[in-house]
Symmetry: C2
Subunit: 376 residues, 2 copies
């Protein structure tokens, strides 16, 4: 795998690059739709390719481990073969879900014991087992096993948690180096910078992760409820330290505004489920602002959802029709809204990339931030 | 509108034809996917066109009347424009839903008073109002307002109900003739033969409907719980009487076996929601038999759902992946299963048509009935 940094914005730290993988190139900055259990909810794989123009999707190790399980994924030849997605895949380490979804979790030095949210059965994740799981899934990008601290979080807890995250990172790297990909293509492992909202911990963690010399680095533990100012401050602090020549992935972020801001701070990769979850309830992001399609205001609006995006669902269906579907709880409403929001997110990062390349990112970002934050 | 009867099977009464409409030709026999509230559940309009190869879809007057309402449909220029479906549409009269979904319904000579299943509000449908509604929806094929009798049904009730259905039919025809299409294309009205499972009532009703000289005729009140033998017997009795040179539509039927049998009795048009409803629970019809995809048996089956059909979803996804999605309650599971089952139904009627044209329908029907009724 190889990262080419193509251009850096003259006025800020925004970057345009290309990650070359065995499943094809990924132009950055990039947004990665989340396919939790091997499916981006309500979206066909060909729609991800042809309409949304996704370049990489995520899978969740916790979900895939519980269902369909590693035996079947290995038998299929990995997740790409199982779900028919031909481009790169990134998997998280399962840590975040263990903390947020499962019951009775116990964090010890060895790893985490937890109960499945599906059937209550008991399981253990360790840094080593999580590496093995991601080898079996066959993710192009594997994530280190960490503890994602909540917000707010006491300094002492954040520091103690960071220490264990760092010790786990070393164990992840050891296991990663001892093992090989199972399906003939290259996998890389990303360390995750933690440290809650404490600048000194973030700096320490960024330096520690950078030292490991892995292919790319991630920033975790943000967008968990903290004010946007802290999200930007911590991201800025960390991006200053993480090596420029390596991709940077900001986990679980965020709104269109967050993404524009963090691209400007030097982030290359993003993922978020908020806009697909909200889509199913009728909240749409468009190039002109935010729409709650359930509002009476759109009842008779026969114009396309967002003609500027040019994609099938954003132009083939009217706002009035989509509103009717969402209010009538028709599945097609969730489908259209999800594809639309994902198309918008990819359009946003693609346009950001163009603007970084032609040197107009700062001006465009200012205009676009005003648009994407207003409620129509 | 014009119906060309292209060929009739030498050994039975199966027919191949073409209905020419202002929204394009409909080759028969045909299966019509049901788009209750203006959307075939879990299916994009382009998937209906490109994958399922649907030639006509249904809408439900009752649902469309309650939501989105006639004002909006008229403003949009009819249902075709509202939902973006360019081919023909058939709407039912709303009668069936009034009896099955709404509360406190009261049937009088004038019409039916009922309460909405959505908000409990009170409404009235009359033969005249239902004609006006279908003019506003802009269905190519409009259905007469009738009473669909349940099964079982006493003879006296069936007879009394049939009389009112016939009086309503006359009123429908009068209103239909007094009014015009609102969007510049031709609409036709279909009488509906009722009479429960009583041969003499069915004969009387078929003769009465035939006498009206409308473009096509429908058979209602079947597939409501009666044994298959009675469904076939009544359909046979009615098809003997309905004019050969006009299309015949058997409402709400049925399983693949039912459809093959009733094609053989001379039916041209079918609709049914059973297989799309069942699809969402994992029951699949394939060219080799019936599959319950939730069964452990399919857990590691990495073969396509039904390669013989050749469509995207039936070949791009494996049984094991679809099973995983259905069990994990992923929306994509409902999407794949629905498209698959509809693709199968269209494949079934298309193949039947080919066999009628090449004179091998009877032999093929026998083989195919064995296949489609077995559980894999």
């Amino acid at each position: 795998m190889k990262f080419d940094l193509v251009n850096t914005d003259a006025k800020g730290r925004a970057r345009a690059g290309i990650i070359h993988t065995d499943h094809g190139p990924i132009e950055t900055p990039v947004f990665m739709p989340v396919g939790t259990a091997g499916s981006v909810k309500a979206v066909h794989q060909r729609e991800l390719l042809d309409d949304i123009k996704a370049r990489i999707i995520l899978g969740n190790t916790y979900h895939l481990y519980l269902r369909p399980g590693m035996d079947l994924l290995e038998k299929a030849g990995g997740l790409h073969k199982f779900n028919g997605w031909p481009k790169p895949i990134l998997t998280d380490s399962g840590g975040y879900q263990v903390y947020s979804l499962s019951a009775n979790r116990k964090i010890k030095e060895e790893g985490v014991t937890f109960k499945s949210h599906i059937d209550g059965s008991t399981h253990v994740f360790t840094p080593e087992s999580v590496m093995d799981l991601q080898r079996s899934i066959g993710a192009d990008f594997m994530m280190a096993f960490d503890e994602c601290t909540p917000y707010p979080c006491e300094y002492d807890y954040a520091k103690k948690s960071l220490d264990i995250t760092h010790r786990w990172l070393k164990r992840c790297i050891t296991r990663f180096r001892e093992t090989e990909g199972k399906y003939g293509y290259e996998q890389v492992l990303l360390p995750i910078v933690q440290g809650s909202v404490y600048g000194d911990l973030r700096k320490q963690s960024a330096a520690f992760c950078a030292e490991q010399g892995m292919f790319a680095n991630a920033i975790g533990g943000l967008s968990v409820g903290e004010p946007h100012e802290l999200l930007y401050e911590m991201t800025g602090v960390v991006c200053e330290i993480l090596p420029k020549e390596k991709p940077r992935y900001l986990m679980g972020v965020g709104t269109p505004e967050n993404i524009l801001e963090c691209i400007d701070l030097g982030v290359d990769m993003f993922d978020c489920v908020m806009h697909t979850r909200n889509a199913r309830n009728g909240m749409l992001f468009t190039s002109e602002g935010i729409i709650n399609i359930r509002n009476e205001k759109w009842k008779e609006d026969l114009s396309p959802v967002d003609a500027a995006l040019g994609g099938y669902v954003s132009t083939a269906y009217s706002k009035a029709y989509l509103r009717h579907l969402v209010i009538s709880k028709e599945i097609l409403g969730a489908q259209i809204a999800t594809i639309h929001n994902l198309t918008f997110y990819l359009w946003l990062v693609n346009t950001a990339r163009e603007k970084i390349l032609d040197g107009s990112f700062s001006t465009w970002k200012k205009e676009m931030t005003e648009k994407v934050t207003r409620r129509l």
